[in-house]
Amino acid sequence: MVVSPLITAKGVSYTYPDGSVGVREIDLEIFPKERVGIIGPNGSGKSTLIFLLSALLKPTKGEVRVFGLIPDKKNVENIRRRIGVVFQNPDDFLFNPTVKDELLYVPRQLEMNEEEMRKLLQEYSKTFKLEEILQKPPFRLSGGEKKKVEIASVLIYSPEVIFLDEPTANVDGKTRKIVVEMMKNYNGTVVITSHELGIIEELCKRVILMSKGKIVLDTTINDLNEQILEEIGVF
Protein backbone atom coordinates (compact mmCIF):
# COMPACT_ATOMS: atom_id res chain seq x y z
CA MET A 1 0.00 0.00 0.00
CA VAL A 2 1.31 3.39 -0.93
CA VAL A 3 0.73 6.05 1.71
CA SER A 4 0.01 9.41 0.15
CA PRO A 5 1.62 12.42 1.77
CA LEU A 6 -0.42 14.59 4.13
CA ILE A 7 1.29 17.81 3.17
CA THR A 8 3.26 18.52 0.03
CA ALA A 9 5.22 21.56 -1.03
CA LYS A 10 6.34 21.88 -4.63
CA GLY A 11 8.79 24.57 -5.66
CA VAL A 12 7.55 26.81 -2.86
CA SER A 13 9.08 30.22 -2.32
CA TYR A 14 7.93 32.99 -0.08
CA THR A 15 9.07 36.58 -0.28
CA TYR A 16 7.89 39.03 2.39
CA PRO A 17 6.21 42.22 1.17
CA ASP A 18 9.38 44.20 1.85
CA GLY A 19 11.38 41.91 -0.43
CA SER A 20 13.07 39.75 2.23
CA VAL A 21 13.28 36.15 1.19
CA GLY A 22 11.57 33.87 3.68
CA VAL A 23 12.09 30.51 1.99
CA ARG A 24 13.00 29.54 -1.57
CA GLU A 25 12.29 26.54 -3.72
CA ILE A 26 11.13 24.18 -1.08
CA ASP A 27 10.17 20.65 -2.11
CA LEU A 28 8.87 18.60 0.75
CA GLU A 29 6.49 15.82 1.61
CA ILE A 30 5.21 15.06 5.07
CA PHE A 31 3.48 11.75 5.68
CA PRO A 32 0.81 10.83 8.21
CA LYS A 33 2.06 10.23 11.76
CA GLU A 34 5.54 11.38 10.90
CA ARG A 35 7.62 13.28 13.46
CA VAL A 36 9.67 15.88 11.66
CA GLY A 37 12.24 18.19 13.23
CA ILE A 38 13.27 21.36 11.43
CA ILE A 39 16.55 22.92 12.47
CA GLY A 40 18.75 25.68 11.16
CA PRO A 41 20.32 28.96 12.22
CA ASN A 42 18.33 32.09 13.06
CA GLY A 43 16.58 33.54 10.05
CA SER A 44 16.94 30.40 7.95
CA GLY A 45 13.21 30.26 7.24
CA LYS A 46 11.88 27.69 9.71
CA SER A 47 8.96 29.76 10.97
CA THR A 48 8.11 30.91 7.47
CA LEU A 49 8.04 27.29 6.34
CA ILE A 50 5.67 26.38 9.15
CA PHE A 51 3.30 29.19 8.17
CA LEU A 52 3.35 27.96 4.60
CA LEU A 53 2.81 24.30 5.40
CA SER A 54 -0.07 25.15 7.71
CA ALA A 55 -1.76 27.24 5.02
CA LEU A 56 -1.48 30.47 6.98
CA LEU A 57 0.69 32.12 4.37
CA LYS A 58 0.19 31.71 0.65
CA PRO A 59 3.39 30.92 -1.23
CA THR A 60 4.50 33.65 -3.61
CA LYS A 61 5.66 30.87 -5.92
CA GLY A 62 4.91 27.16 -6.08
CA GLU A 63 2.15 25.17 -4.49
CA VAL A 64 1.31 23.76 -1.09
CA ARG A 65 -1.22 20.97 -0.72
CA VAL A 66 -2.67 20.12 2.65
CA PHE A 67 -4.63 16.89 2.99
CA GLY A 68 -4.48 16.75 -0.78
CA LEU A 69 -6.23 20.11 -1.16
CA ILE A 70 -4.98 23.46 -2.30
CA PRO A 71 -6.24 25.76 0.46
CA ASP A 72 -8.91 28.18 -0.71
CA LYS A 73 -11.81 30.09 0.78
CA LYS A 74 -14.16 27.17 0.81
CA ASN A 75 -12.05 24.49 2.39
CA VAL A 76 -9.90 26.59 4.66
CA GLU A 77 -11.95 26.24 7.86
CA ASN A 78 -11.92 22.51 7.45
CA ILE A 79 -8.18 22.47 7.02
CA ARG A 80 -7.74 24.70 10.07
CA ARG A 81 -9.79 22.36 12.18
CA ARG A 82 -7.34 19.56 11.47
CA ILE A 83 -4.17 21.62 11.97
CA GLY A 84 -2.79 23.24 15.10
CA VAL A 85 0.02 25.78 15.04
CA VAL A 86 1.98 26.88 18.10
CA PHE A 87 3.54 30.20 17.06
CA GLN A 88 7.10 30.99 18.02
CA ASN A 89 6.02 34.17 19.76
CA PRO A 90 3.01 33.68 22.06
CA ASP A 91 2.31 37.42 21.97
CA ASP A 92 1.43 37.01 18.33
CA PHE A 93 -0.91 34.20 19.20
CA LEU A 94 -2.96 35.06 22.27
CA PHE A 95 -5.83 37.45 21.73
CA ASN A 96 -8.65 36.41 24.06
CA PRO A 97 -9.71 38.31 27.18
CA THR A 98 -8.73 35.56 29.61
CA VAL A 99 -6.66 32.39 29.69
CA LYS A 100 -9.86 30.39 29.98
CA ASP A 101 -11.32 31.94 26.84
CA GLU A 102 -8.04 31.26 25.16
CA LEU A 103 -8.16 27.57 25.96
CA LEU A 104 -11.80 27.26 24.96
CA TYR A 105 -11.57 29.36 21.84
CA VAL A 106 -11.60 26.44 19.42
CA PRO A 107 -13.79 24.04 21.47
CA ARG A 108 -16.49 26.74 21.57
CA GLN A 109 -16.39 27.13 17.81
CA LEU A 110 -16.75 23.38 17.45
CA GLU A 111 -19.85 23.64 19.60
CA MET A 112 -18.80 20.96 22.03
CA ASN A 113 -21.19 20.51 24.91
CA GLU A 114 -20.59 22.28 28.20
CA GLU A 115 -19.71 19.16 30.11
CA GLU A 116 -17.08 18.12 27.63
CA MET A 117 -15.55 21.59 27.66
CA ARG A 118 -15.47 21.73 31.41
CA LYS A 119 -13.60 18.46 31.47
CA LEU A 120 -11.10 19.50 28.84
CA LEU A 121 -10.50 22.77 30.62
CA GLN A 122 -9.90 21.04 33.91
CA GLU A 123 -7.61 18.47 32.40
CA TYR A 124 -5.42 20.88 30.50
CA SER A 125 -5.24 23.55 33.14
CA LYS A 126 -4.17 20.91 35.58
CA THR A 127 -1.52 19.39 33.33
CA PHE A 128 0.00 22.77 32.52
CA LYS A 129 -0.53 24.25 36.00
CA LEU A 130 -2.76 27.03 34.79
CA GLU A 131 -5.43 26.84 37.49
CA GLU A 132 -4.38 30.02 39.22
CA ILE A 133 -4.18 32.14 36.11
CA LEU A 134 -7.34 31.01 34.32
CA GLN A 135 -9.05 34.37 34.83
CA LYS A 136 -6.06 36.53 33.92
CA PRO A 137 -5.74 38.23 30.55
CA PRO A 138 -2.92 36.46 28.67
CA PHE A 139 -0.94 39.63 28.04
CA ARG A 140 -0.38 39.97 31.77
CA LEU A 141 1.45 36.67 32.13
CA SER A 142 5.13 35.89 32.41
CA GLY A 143 7.00 34.86 29.26
CA GLY A 144 6.87 31.15 29.99
CA GLU A 145 3.28 31.21 31.20
CA LYS A 146 2.27 32.68 27.86
CA LYS A 147 4.02 29.92 26.00
CA LYS A 148 2.35 27.32 28.21
CA VAL A 149 -1.10 28.77 27.55
CA GLU A 150 -0.35 28.81 23.86
CA ILE A 151 0.70 25.17 23.75
CA ALA A 152 -2.27 24.11 25.87
CA SER A 153 -4.78 25.95 23.70
CA VAL A 154 -3.57 24.12 20.63
CA LEU A 155 -3.28 20.67 22.17
CA ILE A 156 -6.73 20.99 23.75
CA TYR A 157 -8.56 20.41 20.48
CA SER A 158 -6.37 17.50 19.34
CA PRO A 159 -5.69 18.49 15.77
CA GLU A 160 -4.42 15.84 13.39
CA VAL A 161 -1.28 17.76 12.57
CA ILE A 162 0.60 19.86 15.10
CA PHE A 163 3.24 22.41 14.26
CA LEU A 164 5.36 23.46 17.22
CA ASP A 165 7.59 26.48 16.66
CA GLU A 166 10.19 26.57 19.44
CA PRO A 167 7.97 24.91 22.04
CA THR A 168 10.69 24.94 24.69
CA ALA A 169 11.75 28.57 24.49
CA ASN A 170 11.10 30.30 27.83
CA VAL A 171 9.33 27.33 29.42
CA ASP A 172 10.60 25.61 32.55
CA GLY A 173 12.01 22.10 32.73
CA LYS A 174 8.82 20.65 34.09
CA THR A 175 6.68 21.96 31.29
CA ARG A 176 9.24 20.84 28.78
CA LYS A 177 8.95 17.30 30.13
CA ILE A 178 5.17 17.44 29.91
CA VAL A 179 5.29 18.60 26.31
CA VAL A 180 7.72 15.84 25.39
CA GLU A 181 5.56 13.26 27.14
CA MET A 182 2.38 14.43 25.45
CA MET A 183 3.99 14.47 22.05
CA LYS A 184 5.36 10.99 22.53
CA ASN A 185 1.89 9.65 23.22
CA TYR A 186 0.33 11.73 20.56
CA ASN A 187 -1.35 9.97 17.71
CA GLY A 188 -0.96 12.49 14.89
CA THR A 189 1.64 14.17 12.77
CA VAL A 190 4.10 16.48 14.51
CA VAL A 191 6.45 19.07 13.05
CA ILE A 192 8.83 20.79 15.46
CA THR A 193 11.41 23.52 15.09
CA SER A 194 13.84 24.06 17.88
CA HIS A 195 17.28 25.38 18.67
CA GLU A 196 17.46 22.93 21.49
CA LEU A 197 18.50 19.73 19.74
CA GLY A 198 17.57 17.63 22.75
CA ILE A 199 13.86 17.77 22.10
CA ILE A 200 14.34 16.99 18.43
CA GLU A 201 16.43 13.95 19.33
CA GLU A 202 13.82 12.77 21.79
CA LEU A 203 10.89 13.13 19.45
CA CYS A 204 11.81 13.12 15.80
CA LYS A 205 13.19 10.49 13.53
CA ARG A 206 13.34 12.69 10.49
CA VAL A 207 15.28 15.93 10.56
CA ILE A 208 15.29 18.73 8.04
CA LEU A 209 18.13 21.20 8.00
CA MET A 210 17.55 24.67 6.66
CA SER A 211 19.94 27.41 5.73
CA LYS A 212 19.27 30.75 4.02
CA GLY A 213 15.71 29.81 3.14
CA LYS A 214 16.59 26.49 1.56
CA ILE A 215 16.40 22.91 2.69
CA VAL A 216 19.96 21.71 2.64
CA LEU A 217 19.49 18.29 4.17
CA ASP A 218 16.59 15.94 4.80
CA THR A 219 17.80 12.99 6.79
CA THR A 220 17.33 10.85 9.88
CA ILE A 221 18.39 11.92 13.32
CA ASN A 222 21.04 9.20 13.46
CA ASP A 223 22.79 10.44 10.36
CA LEU A 224 23.10 13.91 11.77
CA ASN A 225 26.57 14.71 12.98
CA GLU A 226 28.31 17.65 14.56
CA GLN A 227 30.33 18.33 11.49
CA ILE A 228 27.31 18.96 9.29
CA LEU A 229 25.71 21.11 11.95
CA GLU A 230 28.81 23.20 12.33
CA GLU A 231 29.19 23.67 8.61
CA ILE A 232 25.70 25.06 8.24
CA GLY A 233 26.12 27.29 11.22
CA VAL A 234 23.76 25.74 13.71
CA PHE A 235 26.70 25.51 16.07
Binding site: R80, Y105, F139
Partner: protein, 243 residues
Amino acid sequence: MHVVLEKTLKNASSYFQNFLIHEYGVRGTLHAIDARVKLLSSFSFVILAVSTFDLEKLLFLLISLLAVSTVLGVNLKSLFKRVWLFTVFSFIVVSPFLLQNPEYPFLFTLRVLITLISLQLLVMTTSFAEICFAMRSFKIPQLFVHALWLAYRYILVVFQDIVSILLARESRRVAKGSHRDLWKKGGEAIGLFFLRSIERAERIQLAMASRGEKIFEMRAKVGMLEIIYITLSAFIILWWLAL
Protein backbone atom coordinates in the same frame (compact mmCIF):
# COMPACT_ATOMS: atom_id res chain seq x y z
CA MET B 1 -19.23 39.50 6.69
CA HIS B 2 -16.96 39.50 9.70
CA VAL B 3 -14.47 37.31 7.85
CA VAL B 4 -14.43 39.77 4.99
CA LEU B 5 -14.05 42.60 7.46
CA GLU B 6 -11.10 40.96 9.14
CA LYS B 7 -9.50 40.24 5.82
CA THR B 8 -9.91 43.83 4.69
CA LEU B 9 -8.47 45.05 7.96
CA LYS B 10 -5.49 42.75 7.58
CA ASN B 11 -4.81 43.83 4.02
CA ALA B 12 -5.20 47.48 4.90
CA SER B 13 -2.85 47.15 7.84
CA SER B 14 -0.12 45.45 5.91
CA TYR B 15 -0.57 48.00 3.14
CA PHE B 16 -0.18 50.93 5.50
CA GLN B 17 2.63 49.26 7.33
CA ASN B 18 4.58 49.18 4.10
CA PHE B 19 3.84 52.83 3.65
CA LEU B 20 5.33 53.60 7.01
CA ILE B 21 8.67 51.99 6.39
CA HIS B 22 10.10 53.19 3.14
CA GLU B 23 12.57 51.23 1.18
CA TYR B 24 15.54 51.82 3.39
CA GLY B 25 17.60 49.53 1.20
CA VAL B 26 17.33 51.52 -2.00
CA ARG B 27 19.29 54.73 -1.71
CA GLY B 28 19.24 57.24 -4.52
CA THR B 29 20.88 60.63 -4.70
CA LEU B 30 18.02 62.41 -2.98
CA HIS B 31 18.49 60.22 0.08
CA ALA B 32 21.88 61.74 0.65
CA ILE B 33 20.68 65.33 0.73
CA ASP B 34 20.17 67.05 4.06
CA ALA B 35 16.60 66.68 5.27
CA ARG B 36 16.19 70.37 6.00
CA VAL B 37 16.95 71.29 2.41
CA LYS B 38 14.45 68.75 1.14
CA LEU B 39 11.81 69.89 3.58
CA LEU B 40 12.09 73.50 2.47
CA SER B 41 12.21 72.77 -1.23
CA SER B 42 9.26 70.39 -1.11
CA PHE B 43 7.29 72.97 0.82
CA SER B 44 8.10 75.61 -1.79
CA PHE B 45 6.98 73.35 -4.62
CA VAL B 46 3.67 72.78 -2.86
CA ILE B 47 3.17 76.51 -2.52
CA LEU B 48 3.93 76.99 -6.20
CA ALA B 49 1.40 74.34 -7.17
CA VAL B 50 -1.42 75.74 -5.11
CA SER B 51 -0.82 79.30 -6.19
CA THR B 52 -1.94 78.97 -9.78
CA PHE B 53 -4.47 77.53 -12.17
CA ASP B 54 -2.19 78.20 -15.18
CA LEU B 55 -1.85 75.08 -17.24
CA GLU B 56 1.63 76.02 -18.49
CA LYS B 57 2.97 76.68 -15.04
CA LEU B 58 1.50 73.51 -13.68
CA LEU B 59 2.82 71.41 -16.51
CA PHE B 60 6.27 72.92 -16.18
CA LEU B 61 6.25 72.10 -12.50
CA LEU B 62 4.96 68.58 -12.98
CA ILE B 63 7.46 67.69 -15.69
CA SER B 64 10.33 69.24 -13.77
CA LEU B 65 9.50 67.29 -10.63
CA LEU B 66 9.17 64.07 -12.55
CA ALA B 67 12.51 64.73 -14.21
CA VAL B 68 14.13 65.40 -10.85
CA SER B 69 12.64 62.20 -9.45
CA THR B 70 13.94 60.08 -12.28
CA VAL B 71 17.42 61.51 -12.30
CA LEU B 72 17.83 61.53 -8.53
CA GLY B 73 16.75 57.99 -7.91
CA VAL B 74 13.07 58.02 -6.95
CA ASN B 75 11.35 55.06 -8.50
CA LEU B 76 8.50 56.41 -10.63
CA LYS B 77 6.44 53.31 -10.13
CA SER B 78 6.51 53.49 -6.36
CA LEU B 79 5.95 57.23 -6.61
CA PHE B 80 2.83 56.58 -8.63
CA LYS B 81 1.66 53.97 -6.13
CA ARG B 82 1.82 56.53 -3.39
CA VAL B 83 0.05 59.40 -5.12
CA TRP B 84 -2.68 57.92 -7.26
CA LEU B 85 -5.19 57.38 -4.49
CA PHE B 86 -5.57 60.95 -3.30
CA THR B 87 -5.40 62.22 -6.87
CA VAL B 88 -8.37 60.13 -7.91
CA PHE B 89 -10.02 61.07 -4.68
CA SER B 90 -9.75 64.78 -5.46
CA PHE B 91 -11.03 64.27 -8.97
CA ILE B 92 -14.13 62.56 -7.63
CA VAL B 93 -14.74 65.40 -5.22
CA VAL B 94 -14.79 68.04 -7.95
CA SER B 95 -16.19 65.87 -10.73
CA PRO B 96 -19.67 67.45 -10.54
CA PHE B 97 -18.14 70.47 -12.29
CA LEU B 98 -17.29 68.44 -15.40
CA LEU B 99 -20.36 69.62 -17.29
CA GLN B 100 -20.40 73.17 -16.11
CA ASN B 101 -16.71 73.97 -16.38
CA PRO B 102 -14.84 71.03 -17.85
CA GLU B 103 -11.36 72.52 -17.45
CA TYR B 104 -11.63 73.10 -13.75
CA PRO B 105 -11.71 69.52 -12.42
CA PHE B 106 -8.61 68.62 -14.41
CA LEU B 107 -6.64 71.68 -13.38
CA PHE B 108 -7.71 71.24 -9.79
CA THR B 109 -6.67 67.60 -9.79
CA LEU B 110 -3.38 68.45 -11.49
CA ARG B 111 -2.60 70.89 -8.67
CA VAL B 112 -3.31 68.25 -6.10
CA LEU B 113 -1.18 65.70 -7.96
CA ILE B 114 1.78 68.06 -8.02
CA THR B 115 1.55 68.78 -4.31
CA LEU B 116 1.52 65.05 -3.63
CA ILE B 117 4.59 64.45 -5.77
CA SER B 118 6.41 67.37 -4.16
CA LEU B 119 5.90 65.94 -0.71
CA GLN B 120 6.87 62.45 -1.80
CA LEU B 121 10.23 63.78 -2.95
CA LEU B 122 10.78 64.37 0.75
CA VAL B 123 8.94 61.44 2.28
CA MET B 124 10.27 58.69 0.05
CA THR B 125 13.85 59.71 0.49
CA THR B 126 14.04 60.65 4.14
CA SER B 127 13.76 58.56 7.26
CA PHE B 128 11.34 59.77 9.88
CA ALA B 129 14.19 60.36 12.30
CA GLU B 130 15.78 62.74 9.82
CA ILE B 131 12.52 64.59 9.39
CA CYS B 132 12.31 64.98 13.15
CA PHE B 133 15.84 66.23 13.20
CA ALA B 134 15.05 68.76 10.49
CA MET B 135 12.07 69.98 12.49
CA ARG B 136 14.20 70.38 15.56
CA SER B 137 16.69 72.51 13.71
CA PHE B 138 13.84 74.70 12.50
CA LYS B 139 13.13 75.37 16.17
CA ILE B 140 9.92 73.44 16.37
CA PRO B 141 9.47 72.79 20.10
CA GLN B 142 11.24 69.77 21.55
CA LEU B 143 8.06 68.42 23.11
CA PHE B 144 6.24 68.41 19.80
CA VAL B 145 9.03 66.62 17.97
CA HIS B 146 9.48 64.17 20.79
CA ALA B 147 5.77 63.36 20.75
CA LEU B 148 5.90 62.98 16.99
CA TRP B 149 8.72 60.48 17.27
CA LEU B 150 7.00 58.58 20.07
CA ALA B 151 3.71 58.34 18.21
CA TYR B 152 5.45 57.20 15.07
CA ARG B 153 7.10 54.34 16.90
CA TYR B 154 3.87 53.24 18.52
CA ILE B 155 2.11 53.37 15.19
CA LEU B 156 4.61 50.83 13.89
CA VAL B 157 4.04 48.64 16.93
CA VAL B 158 0.27 48.83 16.71
CA PHE B 159 0.18 47.98 13.03
CA GLN B 160 2.49 45.04 13.52
CA ASP B 161 0.28 43.80 16.34
CA ILE B 162 -2.88 44.13 14.29
CA VAL B 163 -1.38 42.07 11.50
CA SER B 164 -0.12 39.31 13.76
CA ILE B 165 -3.31 39.09 15.81
CA LEU B 166 -5.42 38.81 12.72
CA LEU B 167 -3.19 35.96 11.56
CA ALA B 168 -3.57 34.29 14.94
CA ARG B 169 -7.34 34.57 14.74
CA GLU B 170 -7.23 33.04 11.31
CA SER B 171 -5.10 30.16 12.50
CA ARG B 172 -7.76 29.10 14.96
CA ARG B 173 -10.88 29.92 13.01
CA VAL B 174 -12.35 26.48 12.49
CA ALA B 175 -15.93 27.54 11.80
CA LYS B 176 -17.45 30.37 9.83
CA GLY B 177 -19.15 31.89 12.84
CA SER B 178 -22.22 34.06 12.85
CA HIS B 179 -22.87 37.67 11.96
CA ARG B 180 -24.41 38.31 15.31
CA ASP B 181 -21.04 37.86 16.95
CA LEU B 182 -19.55 40.65 14.94
CA TRP B 183 -20.92 43.48 17.03
CA LYS B 184 -20.78 41.70 20.31
CA LYS B 185 -17.32 40.24 20.01
CA GLY B 186 -15.91 42.91 17.71
CA GLY B 187 -16.26 45.65 20.30
CA GLU B 188 -14.73 43.51 23.00
CA ALA B 189 -11.85 42.54 20.74
CA ILE B 190 -11.06 46.15 19.90
CA GLY B 191 -11.22 47.22 23.53
CA LEU B 192 -8.99 44.38 24.59
CA PHE B 193 -6.53 45.15 21.84
CA PHE B 194 -6.39 48.74 22.96
CA LEU B 195 -5.76 47.74 26.56
CA ARG B 196 -3.11 45.27 25.56
CA SER B 197 -1.38 47.88 23.42
CA ILE B 198 -1.32 50.30 26.32
CA GLU B 199 0.29 47.77 28.63
CA ARG B 200 2.72 46.74 25.95
CA ALA B 201 3.58 50.38 25.47
CA GLU B 202 4.17 50.66 29.18
CA ARG B 203 6.79 47.94 28.87
CA ILE B 204 8.36 49.55 25.84
CA GLN B 205 8.48 52.69 27.92
CA LEU B 206 10.59 50.70 30.38
CA ALA B 207 12.90 49.67 27.57
CA MET B 208 13.31 53.29 26.61
CA ALA B 209 13.92 54.22 30.20
CA SER B 210 16.60 51.59 30.47
CA ARG B 211 18.42 52.94 27.46
CA GLY B 212 17.82 56.66 27.87
CA GLU B 213 15.00 58.69 26.38
CA LYS B 214 16.88 61.47 24.72
CA ILE B 215 15.86 61.73 21.13
CA PHE B 216 19.13 61.67 19.30
CA GLU B 217 20.39 64.61 17.40
CA MET B 218 21.68 63.88 13.96
CA ARG B 219 24.50 65.72 12.42
CA ALA B 220 23.78 68.23 9.71
CA LYS B 221 25.42 67.83 6.35
CA VAL B 222 25.76 70.82 4.10
CA GLY B 223 28.04 70.66 1.10
CA MET B 224 28.21 70.99 -2.63
CA LEU B 225 25.36 68.52 -3.01
CA GLU B 226 23.01 70.66 -0.95
CA ILE B 227 24.07 73.86 -2.66
CA ILE B 228 23.36 72.49 -6.11
CA TYR B 229 20.01 71.11 -5.00
CA ILE B 230 19.10 74.50 -3.56
CA THR B 231 20.08 76.06 -6.88
CA LEU B 232 17.88 73.58 -8.67
CA SER B 233 14.91 74.39 -6.46
CA ALA B 234 15.50 78.11 -6.75
CA PHE B 235 15.63 77.79 -10.51
CA ILE B 236 12.30 76.00 -10.60
CA ILE B 237 10.74 78.73 -8.49
CA LEU B 238 12.14 81.53 -10.63
CA TRP B 239 11.19 79.95 -13.91
CA TRP B 240 7.71 79.26 -12.56
CA LEU B 241 7.37 82.93 -11.65
CA ALA B 242 8.60 84.03 -15.04
CA LEU B 243 6.60 81.63 -17.16
